[in-house]
């Protein structure tokens, strides 16, 4: 069985090559507070294949460790957008953003100031 698997892997080598079980990524996610942090990290961790997600309240940087065989950055990013958090170049759907708690409304200047 194992041999067969190895064979299969070898055959599909072009697609599975460089698939890292512990791939790392880091990018900016917009948010303001610890509540945002929980929401962002939870959205990532609920995505199958994500092992570690840690978002820094100060720098807004999200650090990820994930299994490339099970998921990809596109899927993870989509999960983040769906809970209402903008990325550097992509805006979250308004519907998701509007459902955020009042103090997490990071697009609002006033809220940003308050933190």
């Amino acid at each position: 069985m194992k041999k067969l698997l190895i064979l299969l892997v070898l055959l599909t080598g072009t697609t599975s090559f460089a698939q890292n079980k512990n791939a790392k990524a880091s990018f900016e996610v917009k948010g303001v507070c610890e509540m945002c942090q929980t929401r962002i990290e939870k959205a990532c961790l609920k995505t199958k294949g994500v092992k570690i997600a840690s978002w820094d309240v100060k720098t807004h940087q999200l650090k990820l460790v994930y299994n490339e065989k099970k998921t990809d950055l596109k899927t993870i990013k989509k999960a983040i957008l769906n809970v209402g958090h903008d990325l550097k170049d992509v805006m979250a759907p308004d519907e998701a953003y509007n459902s955020l708690h009042g103090c997490c409304k990071y697009r609002d200047e006033e809220v940003l100031k308050a933190h």
């Binding site: 610890e34 961790l45 092992k51 570690i52 997600a53 460790v65 103090c103 100031k113």
Partner: protein, 748 residues
């Protein structure tokens, strides 16, 4: 800052038409005060905030919910102002010297009941430990209502701790997470850890985690020691008390290379003045001498993820108790005068290595090895008790995640070896007891954290022991957050241990009681292992009372013994040990309120109810000398710090114990009989600390200042070699009030 943000989130928006509070913020400590632009100004626990303009001016709507205005700016000490009337304010903000310093925007709590952990965990940090002089680990618990500190006997001045109504053998006490206060060290072990060595203490109520072993039944205590990397370069503490006790603590910490640090910790205490205030011819507190040395090495290589410790500790402790006229050279084992000597020598060597995978930070390996040898040579009047206990303990833990960091696990194994050699009896006719105990165990603990409402820890271990058999120890802890600032926890688990009947009940030797050991063919002194289940629920709610932080905790625990080695004091001429036949349980209910009453003033009130009953041969009785009701109050006041960090601290603790049942003395002649119950006892401790600067502070305090004491703590003190001599009927203080003073000096 983070804390404030979280707190802010808990309060929904409230917008009502308000007045404006105007003011101006300046930089302090300047000859010509400069306005501070860009400082944050906001109301505590609200979302109302603003930023000062270029001239330091601000204008903020007044708040109905908060009277406390927070002013903060990176690099400056955050200030909280009490605003009673809306009128313009001018405030000066002090720069902090060190930018790396953690910004504390809410008040830092010295004792913290965990909201998030799945276990009922209380952490006491160094600030809490400074609330009383805390000569040793045992006394550190005096300001914490979860742990009772009791008097063990009328002779040795030993204090014993209790949790959930059960004595210290049922609490697993670890130092740096290695079970240490056990076996031969059970009785005096806590007094062998100097208070200044302790960095913080974690108290877990209920059986706790499987990782630290199967022995915990009522709870776990873990004391973390000062780390050479973090502790002051030089620390000196001098202490003197009116009861004749003097102490000296010195810590010296040095950096050897960038990665290697070492610390030398020296402790000495002496009491060479005898006191007999109650005029019963016996010393109220023993004469004592202790030398305690520890050398701690710490290796830290953060790039490689390696942290390692090596500790070597040597202890030499000598106590002399008994009649004031007793002279050991002339009177040992004679009937001239009654006297006792307890000499203990102990050596501990322990090493720890932990490695965290830097690429995958969740992967961690932790290995500990510990060796100790404990030797106590002692006699009590004509009774001899010697014990030699060697222990070897090693444990390896691997931590990682299952799929994602929402699911964590720890797995590992440990091995423990104990050799006991005891000599017991009247000096002319002693018996030897020797036993080897070894156990090997594997454990697995799974933790689920959904980052919000649920945190669950489920653990199981399988152990094989030559004396306790092969058995499973399951434990489950769960936390659920039903609404904001609330935490509901449950725990269930089992524990098992072998009872060291002599070492744990040494106070019996200082009496005329005969030891009656009912051998039933078991492997430990002819007795069976103790097995118990512990169940608990607790609820914690944080809230705001008149705009200030408060929390209320309520918990209930039940310990059910499947087997227990019953210690039966009900016949005044003997103490019997036998396997439990029937029911034995301990119910404990506690409620605790913590309230930040005014700025700098913290109150803690607690009430405890115990129902501890055991089936003795003479019937099902409440455990002797265990109060049903206990009340506890602690008030702490801290003044504002000045620019140098100078401030005052006032701390006072009141403890009230309800009546306690005396073991039966019905078999004695009338003059040697006691009432059924003890009177109630209330004690008051006070301490005042003046911090001159971060490096220097002076404290004075009084223990038991209302001078509460037992009139005649020793039964038959007039005839110590007679049939009715007994020093074990102790339910409160013997010495009365005592005052102390000390200083602490730190060089960083």
């Amino acid at each position: 800052m983070k804390k404030i943000i979280t707190l802010l989130l808990f309060i929904p928006f409230i917008s009502v038409a308000q007045e404006q509070l105007n003011g101006r913020i300046f930089i302090a400590n300047e000859e010509d005060p400069m306005p501070l632009a860009g400082a944050n100004v906001y109301w505590l626990h609200t979302t109302i905030g603003t930023v000062t303009d270029l001239d330091g001016n601000f204008s903020i709507p007044s708040s109905k919910d908060s009277k406390e205005l927070i002013i903060s700016y990176v690099g400056f000490k955050t200030d909280t102002l009490k605003i009673n009337a809306i009128k313009p304010i001018h405030h000066y903000l002090h720069p902090t010297n060190n930018l790396d310093e953690v910004e504390v925007t809410t008040r830092k709590k010295s004792t913290l009941i965990s909201f998030l952990n799945s276990q009922n965990l209380v952490t006491m940090n160094s600030e809490e430990l400074l609330k009383s002089a805390c000569c040793n680990l045992c006394e550190s618990f005096e300001t914490n209502p979860s742990i009772d500190v009791n008097y063990a006997d009328a002779l040795t001045g030993t204090r014993q701790i209790k949790m959930l109504g059960l004595t210290s053998p049922y609490i697993l006490t670890a130092i740096e997470s290695v079970p240490t206060v056990r076996g031969a060290a059970q009785m005096y072990g806590l007094s062998f850890v100097p208070g200044t060595w302790v960095e913080s203490i974690q108290i877990t109520k209920g059986t706790g985690s499987v990782i630290s072993g199967f022995e915990s039944i009522a709870g776990q205590i873990n004391a973390k020691l000062q780390k050479p990397v973090e502790d002051s370069k030089v620390f000196v503490n001098i202490y003197g008390a009116g009861n004749g006790r003097f102490e000296l603590n010195t810590h010296l910490n040095t950096k050897i290379t960038d990665k290697l640090y070492t610390g030398l910790f020296l402790h000495g205490n002496i009491r060479d003045t005898g006191f007999d205030r109650n005029k019963d011819s016996f010393l109220d507190i023993p004469l004592a001498k202790q030398v305690n040395l520890m050398n701690r090495w710490q290796y830290v290589d953060l790039d490689k993820g390696v942290v390692s410790f090596l500790n070597v500790r040597y202890l030499n402790d000598a106590k002399q108790a008994g009649q004031t006229s007793y002279n050991p050279e002339a009177d040992k084992f004679s009937t001239n005068y009654w006297g006792s000597d307890i000499d203990t020598k102990r050596l501990d060597v322990s090493g720890k290595l932990s490695y965290a995978n830097q690429d995958l930070t969740y992967q961690n390996v932790d290995i500990q090895v510990n060796f100790s040898t404990h030797n106590q040579q002692s006699y009590f009047g004509r009774n001899v008790y010697n014990i030699n206990h060697n222990n070897f303990y090693t444990r390896a833990i691997y931590s990682s995640i299952l799929g994602s960091s929402l699911h964590k696990f720890k797995a590992g194994l440990n091995f423990s070896y104990d050799h006991y050699d005891e000599t017991v009896g009247v000096y002319t006719n002693t018996m030897d007891y020797e036993r080897n105990e070894n156990s090997i165990g594997v454990f697995f603990e799974y933790n689920y954290d959904d980052l919000e409402n649920i945190n669950l820890t489920a653990g199981i271990r399988i152990d094989n022991s030559n004396l306790l058999g092969t058995f499973l120890t399951p434990r489950l802890n769960m936390r659920y957050t039903p609404w904001e600032q609330a935490s509901f926890k449950t725990s269930i688990g089992s524990g098992r241990r072998s009872s060291n009947i002599f070492a744990e009940n040494q106070n019996m030797f200082a009496s005329s009681r005969l030891v009656n050991l009912l051998n039933s063919g078991g492997k430990i002194y002819g007795l069976d292992p103790e097995i118990a289940w512990n169940y608990g629920i607790s609820f914690l709610q944080g809230f705001n009372l008149f705009g200030r932080e408060a929390d209320l905790a309520v918990d209930f625990y039940r310990t059910d013994f499947k087997n227990q080695v019953v210690v039966d004091w009900e016949n005044p001429s003997e103490v019997s040990f036998y396997n439990l036949d029937g029911e034995s349980y301990a119910n404990s209910f506690q409620t605790e309120l913590n309230y930040n009453f005014l700025e700098g003033v913290d109150l803690r009130l607690a009430y405890k109810y115990y129902d501890v009953k055991t089936q003795y041969t003479s019937g099902k009785l409440t455990k002797p000398l265990t109060p049903k009701h206990r009340f506890f109050a602690n008030a702490a006041y801290k003044t504002k710090m000045n620019a140098k960090g100078g401030h005052w601290k006032f701390d006072t603790t009141y403890n009230w114990l309800g009546e306690q049942r005396f073991p039966s003395t019905a078999g004695n002649p009338e003059q040697y009989r006691l009432t059924d119950y003890t009177p109630t006892v209330g004690t008051l401790n006070v301490q005042i600390t003046k911090v001159f600067a971060k490096s220097f502070e002076v404290y004075v305090g009084g223990e038991n200042i209302t001078n509460e004491r037992i009139k005649s703590p020793i039964m038959g003190a007039d005839d110590p070699f007679g049939n009715y001599f007994d020093t074990t009927f102790v339910y409160g203080p013997i010495f009365g009030s005592t005052y102390y003073a000390g200083l602490r000096y730190r060089l960083n």
